[in-house]
């Protein structure tokens, strides 16, 4: 039995570390979203401020987001500490299976969170880019703005439908230890990946276009870049 308990404890460390990395990715996405919101506010301010700085609302928002995220991270990771401290069970297999299932549910939740945050970043980035274009040169054609919104709505719609199906998958997987349900969950992760990749490439195109725009404006202004 001590060996079995040691094996369970050993499994706790990599699982907790992996979820820690997942939390890091979530935190980093939240920070990027925060920057995008602040940058958009800065670009849309009139008159344009001389330098970028966070206003009082943004500082308050940063504190609230950090507090909520720290609480969420602590709640996710605390169960591993409790598991490590809890006494060994008489039968370890059901416990290991249960913990693996909870871990997979947590990981699927992380995937859902990354995709949702990425979509929000792309949406804010798109709005920031159009504001930058308006500030530096000519306004974006209305049709292009509408097209951007439609693309984002389609992504968000596909993602919500996936997530709805996913919630059912999780419930089913919890009900029954069946490979078919796990396969369906794997499929959900890959479908979420499709939305994720699309959002990433839209983000890449936006950053590239912002770079081209800034460089062109610098050239027009005669700045030495």
């Amino acid at each position: 039995m001590p060996e079995a308990h040691a094996a369970i404890r050993f499994q706790i460390v990599p699982t907790a570390a992996l979820e820690g990395v997942g939390l890091f990715w979530l935190g980093a996405e939240l920070a990027i979203l925060f920057f995008m919101l602040a940058a958009r506010r800065h670009i849309q301010s009139r008159p344009l401020p001389h330098s970028f700085s966070l206003n009082q609302n943004e500082r308050r928002r940063a504190l609230i987001w950090m507090f909520c995220f720290a609480g969420f991270a602590a709640a996710v990771l605390a169960r591993h500490v409790i598991h490590a401290l809890s006494p060994p069970p008489s039968d370890t297999l059901p416990l290991v299976v249960h913990r693996a299932r909870v871990h997979m549910t947590v990981w699927s939740g992380f995937v859902t969170g990354w995709v949702a945050l990425e979509l929000a970043i792309v949406y804010q980035g798109y709005r920031g880019y159009t504001a930058l274009k308006k500030l530096l040169a000519t306004p974006m054609p209305a049709a292009a703005t509408a097209a951007g919104r439609i693309v984002m709505l389609v992504f968000a719609g596909v993602f919500l439908l996936q997530s709805a199906a996913h919630a059912q998958t999780l419930l089913a997987a919890a009900r029954e230890q069946n490979q078919v349900y796990y396969n369906a969950m794997y499929l959900y992760l890959r479908l979420a990946g499709v939305v994720w990749i699309a959002a990433e490439w839209v983000a890449a195109a936006l950053v590239w276009r912002a770079y081209v725009l800034l460089r062109a404006a610098a050239g027009k202004a005669g700045a030495d870049v």
């Binding site: 992996l18 990395v21 890091f24 990715w25 980093a28 920070a31 990027i32 920057f35 602040a38 940058a39 800065h42 670009i43 344009l48 401020p49 001389h50 330098s51 970028f52 700085s53 930058l132 500030l135 530096l136 040169a137 199906a165 059912q168 998958t169 089913a172 069946n178 490979q179 078919v180 349900y181 796990y182 396969n183 369906a184 794997y186 499929l187 959900y188 992760l189 890959r190 990946g193 499709v194 994720w196 990749i197 990433e200 490439w201 983000a203 890449a204 950053v207 590239w208 912002a210 770079y211 800034l214 460089r215 404006a217 610098a218 027009k220 202004a221 005669g222 700045a223 030495d224 870049v225």
Partner: protein, 122 residues
């Protein structure tokens, strides 16, 4: 209806297919990440050029160091290795993005101000 859908999804998708598509998708989003970070460094250097600050060099080096492991993703034999490579590639990418945003947020603001003064007539 959902249960039937889940059953159909589960029967049509296998762990082997999951690994196959993970390799492809992971390569696709890692390539997008490389493009994002590269363009962000170029963008930051353009802003730095406008306000006459030394451009980023270390960020390019750090980004270049992530390319060899990223190129190995399509050939990774199992999911565990794909995950480890992802950690080695995406954590530096996220850190680079956050570093540039934190370090150059004021630079972007100053560069915009300087450009607007010149581009838009008062």
């Amino acid at each position: 209806m959902f249960d039937a859908l889940i059953q159909a999804m589960g029967n049509a998708f296998t762990p082997e297919m999951y690994l196959f598509w993970t390799r492809i998708q992971c390569s696709a989003w890692t390539l997008a990440d490389l493009v994002i970070v590269f363009c962000l460094i170029r963008l930051a250097n353009t802003a730095r050029g406008i306000v006459k600050i030394e451009p980023h060099v270390f960020s390019y080096v750090a980004l270049a160091l992530t390319i060899p492991p990223a190129a190995f993703i399509p050939f990774a034999p199992n999911g565990r290795l794909i995950l480890l490579i992802e950690l080695a590639v995406t954590i530096p990418h996220f850190l680079l993005i956050l570093y540039i945003l934190a370090k150059d947020a004021k630079t972007f603001g100053m560069a915009l101000n300087k450009l607007v003064e010149k581009v838009v007539p008062p």
